[in-house]
């Protein structure tokens, strides 16, 4: 099988109908074609019933909440020896298409190149909650490995019968079973399953030990790479169904604004334009997206503005005022006791603004409804929840909704919410035409579920001997993930009030908030690691030595020591004038230590990050280069919220609407980046795509302080804020 072949399979798996044509067949035809392709290649042989039934009985496909226990849901072996792997996870850029294929290839003992991935298609793939939280490897990985291991064991049993040899003696390489003591005896997986119905299951099939890995731990070429460099990779807005209309939806100027009156006469006169109104949904549709947009601009709409409310400056007091009662996250010792032992108290407040996801692909969806079944290609991180939402909006049963997730052009948590999919489906129903909705950048900012603005208050203290003895931590608005202290402090308490997960009092966050790459942990790490540095300076200690003096967690000591070695850290008391900083963090079980060197221009307040060293312990490393890519991405993206990114708003109006005023990291910002992967075969594979970003706010803040003696307590650390801090320093 050539790479080209495997990639065109991949594209089918990603929700395309195949090869390069400009327009798509309608979806029913498409699924029939897909079905024929699959059935024709014998991919359904594992199913205990006729292949057709697999589509006709959706409940056989695991639509229920929870991962199915039948390994057939995850994999099929075709007579051409190709293995199709079905997962509800999606490819957002994080490389899951490759790393999950590695896990399956490893356990099944087939060649990685022979695995075709079908991802995020709710009709074909087993249920999944969504692709977020660094869970693909940590939580879903074991499920997929288990399925692969069980399938391999079943196939070995079958091979043993066929070859009349004990299963224990057989060996498998690239899907070919051989008997070492009888050379020439061989049978392939494809031969074993061909024409058979296999209902055999095994109670226990152990997964491989780390020491036996040959595919996991390698860095193969990404399965999606070829399609991505040739422009063949398709995203939700790249599907063109015959007869399709492009919709532009009328948006309010501010959150909370209400439509007073509407005049669509001029828009309706545009040749080929259609105006649709259904309750709160007003849309202009046209065969050409830009002409729909032109017509939308002719719609005259007047909105009543919302009540005056908060803006990006008053938000922090507002959060403190509106936050719910703080909830206890963790406690040990007694704060009162700590206060008694305190010789040197440091109390600070840390702030961070709302931050946008700003994936380069805006929310996009293409929807068709035929024969009572809706099919939606959506850029989403949560195809299965979106299926429910679309069904509800249309009044369809969930079985009559299919979400197909092609390549997603970046998510970072922002595509967990997928309003565009529901809008496209509603408009398809209203117009009886296939409809595509692609957000413009201003809609993307307006409807983004931002990383929440937050306030952190810390009161901490040192003994006369410079040991931390008290830690009283309160976070408002962000959430409690990784808010607990991992340093050794005898008397400590952590509380949290409100956060990104919802359940906040109405109006606390004036617009949608949600998960943003390592939710709540960027906020908590910035505050904690800044504060630790202040305490270290108070104690007259080097920030690395001070941290090590309060760390009994061996994994954390190991990442810190590894980073310090690579960085060439030489102890000094801050501010040393060198511009060096350190910050530690944990996210979803993965440990990181980051060190940075910065240069600060004192007159302009501009910061250039010169070098970043990051050591990460993510347990077993599935794909080392993939992990490094994710770490580099995390570090680069983190520079944005550290130095520039904040969403400005006033009275429900989002003022940053495009990349002119909302600046994200670019080539000229790049530091030299060095990544270190800690070898840790004792810990199961964890997520790698989010952890380093959590340290970026603090590591840059600490390095700025080390450079010029100015302490920044608010993110982002813009030139203006740095200049203000310099005046105070």
């Amino acid at each position: 099988m050539t790479r080209d072949d495997s990639n065109s399979r991949g594209s089918m798996g990603n929700g395309g109908s195949g090869e390069g044509g400009v327009s798509e067949s309608p979806p029913r035809d498409l699924s029939r074609r897909q079905f024929l392709a699959l059935a024709g290649s014998g991919l359904f042989v594992f199913f205990p019933t006729d292949p057709l039934d697999a589509f006709q009985e959706p409940e056989r496909l695991p639509a229920r909440q929870g991962y199915p226990t039948d390994f057939n849901a995850y994999l099929r072996v075709g007579p051409d020896s190709r293995v199709t792997c079905f997962v509800g996870k999606v490819e957002l850029g994080q490389g899951a298409m490759t790393s999950l294929a590695q896990l399956l290839a490893e356990e099944l003992d087939v060649a990685l190149d022979s695995v075709d991935m079908v991802m995020g298609d709710t009709d074909l793939c087993p249920w999944d909650m969504g692709t977020f939280g660094s869970l693909s490897i940590r939580q879903f990985g074991p499920v997929l490995r288990g399925a692969g291991a069980e399938a391999r064991a079943v196939l070995l049993e079958m091979a043993a019968e066929q070859l009349q040899a004990p299963a224990g003696r057989l060996q498998v390489t690239a899907g070919v079973v051989t008997d070492p003591s009888a050379p020439g005896k061989r049978v392939t997986y494809a031969q074993l399953v061909q024409g058979k119905r296999i209902e055999r299951r095994l109670e226990k099939a152990p997964v491989k030990p780390v020491s036996a890995f040959s595919v996991v731990g390698q860095s193969p070429r990404r399965k999606d790479a070829l399609e991505k460099v040739t422009g063949k990779a398709r995203y939700a807005g790249d599907f063109a169904v015959p007869g399709m209309l492009h919709a532009r939806v009328l948006r309010p100027p501010a959150h909370g604004a209400t439509l007073r009156d509407l005049d669509t006469a001029a828009a309706e006169k545009v040749d080929g334009a259609r105006v649709v109104r259904d309750g709160d949904l007003v849309a202009v549709l046209h065969e050409r997206p830009d002409l729909a947009d032109k017509a939308l601009r002719l719609v005259k709409a007047r909105f009543d503005p919302p009540q005056p409310s908060v803006d990006d400056k008053t938000i922090f007091n507002h959060l403190l005022k509106t936050a719910p009662q703080p909830r206890l996250v963790g406690e040990s010792g007694s704060l009162a006791e700590g206060e008694k032992l305190a010789a040197n108290i440091v109390e600070e407040t840390y702030l961070n603004s709302y931050v946008a996801h700003a994936a380069l692909e805006t929310h996009s969806a293409t929807a068709t409804i035929e024969g009572g079944k809706a099919t939606v290609w959506a850029s989403t991180q949560t195809p299965f929840p979106v299926k429910q939402q679309v069904a509800q909006a249309l009044g369809f049963t969930p079985q009559n909704v299919r979400i197909i997730t092609p390549y997603v052009g970046g998510g970072f948590g922002g595509k967990s919410a997928s309003r565009q999919a529901v809008e496209a489906a509603r408009l398809a129903k209203l117009t009886c035409k296939p409809v595509q909705v692609v957000f413009h950048r201003d809609e993307e900012f307006f409807y983004d579920t931002f990383r929440p603005a937050a306030v952190v208050k810390i009161r901490a203290a040192l003994t006369g001997a410079g040991k931390m003895v008290l830690w009283d931590y309160k976070v408002y608005g962000a959430g409690d993930r990784e808010a607990r202290l991992f340093y050794d402090v005898p008397h400590q308490r952590t509380v949290s009030a409100g956060g990104w997960q919802g359940g906040n009092p109405p109006g606390m966050h004036p617009f949608g908030v949600g998960p943003w790459r390592a939710p709540s942990v960027n906020t908590n790490t910035f505050a904690r690691e800044s504060h630790i540095d202040i305490l270290a300076a108070r104690a007259g200690a080097d920030p690395v030595e001070f941290r090590l003096g309060h760390l009994s967690d061996q994994r954390m000591r190991r990442v810190l020591e590894a980073a310090a070695r690579q960085f060439g850290w030489k102890p000094a008391r801050a501010p040393s004038g060198r511009g060096l900083g350190v910050a530690l963090g944990i996210y979803a079980g993965t440990y990181v230590a980051t060190m940075a060197e910065v240069a600060v221009n004192k007159s302009t307040g501009r910061v250039q990050v010169i070098r970043v060293v990051c050591a990460q312990d993510e347990g077993v490393v599935v794909n080392p280069d993939g992990s490094r890519q994710q770490m580099e991405g995390s570090i680069t993206m983190g520079l944005g919220y550290a130095l520039a990114e904040e969403v400005r708003f006033k009275n429900g109006e989002v003022l940053d609407r495009n990349f002119d005023t909302y600046e994200i990291p670019r080539f000229s910002w790049l530091p030299k980046i060095e990544t270190i992967l800690i070898e840790n075969p004792e810990t199961a594979a964890l997520g790698c795509g989010e952890p380093p970003i959590v340290t970026m706010g603090a590591v840059v803040a600490n390095a700025i302080h080390d450079a010029v003696g100015a302490r920044l307590r608010q993110l982002p650390m813009t030139p203006a804020r740095i200049q203000t801090a310099l005046k105070r320093a």
């Binding site: 460099v229 040739t230 990779a233 380069l360 000229s668």
Partner: protein
Amino acid sequence: MQRTISFTLNGKPTRVTVDDQRMLLWVLRSDLGLTGTKFGCGAALCGACTVVVDKEAVRSCSTPVKEVAGKRVLTIEGLSQEGRLHAIQEAFLKHHGSQCGYCTPGMIMNAYALLQKTPRPTRAQIIQHMDDNLCRCGSHHRILNAIQEAAGTMKGGAQ
């Protein structure tokens, strides 16, 4: 104004009869079905829509189609010749220049224009030329390495 515009698209003579003020991006993506060129911002701020017109990298979201009349337009779809990837594409593969891949076509086309003019750019020249092409996934280092390598492997610079 509705009129017929003729230009060369990926080596093929092409005619479209359209409102000539429409932006090239939408004509490429919607009228001509070439969806490799991406929409990211619509305001010449991100570079996702970059194509090459004659020898210049151009932001197709902000280029009226009338401006390409009589010119040669090259999009990502036209870069590989007879199934052979261009050196820049090969280098992107090798250096893992794509994560989500959404910025990739624009990055590659902008790099192509650079190497046409400056076959042996320094790293600083690459950074300067590429600086207005945004990548949210943080693939920057890989992209720089890929461009640098492509420059080194292309005989006499870009073909």
